[in-house]
């Protein structure tokens, strides 16, 4: 019953992008010259970059209230 969770790269490309592009420490200030300013790549639509507004539009979230991350 104990499933071993393995990271298959193909399966988790979404997971990688969801974290690497969207999370992780962001620092700002004089020292930093650039932080990629992108929320997520639309894999299905090829090369379209999503803005926060677009995410909002698509969200149609069944989970509401305190369950939703503030943006």
């Amino acid at each position: 019953m104990h499933n071993v969770v393995t990271k298959s790269r193909d399966v988790t490309l979404l997971e990688v992008l969801d974290r690497v592009l969207d999370k992780g420490v962001v620092i700002s200030g004089d020292a930093v010259i650039s932080v990629a300013d992108v929320d997520l790549i639309y894999l299905g639509l090829k090369v379209l970059l999503s803005s926060v507004e677009t995410m909002e539009k698509y969200r149609g979230a069944p989970i509401t209230g305190p369950m939703q991350e503030p943006t």
Partner: protein
């Protein structure tokens, strides 16, 4: 360093990193040591990672895929032997000195975060729902729906029409209620086994490329000793819910991308 190179920051750790394995992933990987902290960085070309180059390349899906994977793999290699603070993709500095200045500015904060992360791992749980399958299960099991179906059968056509409409509404309500109930319950049960938990933005189908809808996107900071319990709980949830149209996708351990937030006053312009 030549003039047209930049410093790309992957992660910060408090233990001297072993870069042997990670060096095979990317050229020019090294670390900068400053005040008990080690920043794992790489030299990159300004033409590729400078503001203009990056803007252009972020529109190239293959480039993004390859580089995001490299970013992740390098951090994972460092994570194999140490606790890490992972940085967001594309964190760049002009020189080693400017990276060192950043380490100086944030050193206490980084140390606090690293203390918090000790002996813990990030795990991700995404829950998807096949609404048609859930509907079926609701139709067959909910007394309210069964009752109204009985009434429809014994009613004249006019009344049956309105009852049918009412049934559709009830069904939609019930499906939404179930989605909320299941995802909240799953989140709470897993949260109880974690030090910290986060709920993230739901991703649209265009991104997930799945037929079913994402109904929960969450991340948990789990103690290394509790990982077994955590995965057992995920398995329990799968057994309970997967017959009703839910699919639970659990992955990890991840670098703690979701649990390294800097205190608010430090994040300027963010």
């Amino acid at each position: 360093m030549t003039e047209n190179q930049l410093v790309y920051l992957y992660c910060v750790t408090n233990k001297e990193p072993t870069l042997k394995e990670a060096e095979s992933l990317v050229e020019g990987l090294y670390f900068i040591h400053h005040k008990d902290l080690y920043a794992v960085a790489g030299k990159v070309e300004e033409s590729e990672f400078g503001e203009e180059g990056l803007k252009k390349n972020m529109a190239d899906l293959e480039w993004v895929k390859a580089n995001a994977n490299t970013h992740e793999k390098i951090i994972e290699q460092v994570m194999a032997n140490a606790d890490v603070i992972p940085f967001k993709f594309g964190t760049l500095f002009n020189t080693d000195d400017s990276l060192r200045a950043m380490l100086e500015e944030y050193s206490e904060e980084f140390k606090t975060i690293l203390r918090k992360l000790e002996n813990k791992q990030e795990w991700g749980v995404k829950i998807y729902c096949d609404t048609d399958k859930l509907k079926e299960s609701v139709i067959n099991n909910e007394s309210k729906i069964l009752k109204i179906e009985g009434e429809i059968k014994s009613s004249p056509p006019g009344k049956a029409f309105f009852l049918e409409k009412k049934k559709t509404e009830l069904l939609a309500q019930e499906v939404n209620r179930k989605i909320n109930e299941y995802s909240q319950e799953s989140f709470q049960l897993l949260e109880e086994l974690s030090f910290e938990a986060r709920i993230n933005k739901l991703l649209p189908k265009e991104v997930t490329e799945r037929e079913d809808d994402m109904v929960l996107n969450s991340a948990f900071l789990v103690g290394k000793n509790e990982v077994g319990d955590f995965i057992n709980m995920v398995d329990t949830l799968k057994m309970h819910y997967e017959n009703n149209g839910f699919f639970i996708d659990c992955t990890g351990p991840w670098p703690p991308y979701n649990f390294c937030g800097l205190s608010k006053q430090k994040v300027r312009n963010a």
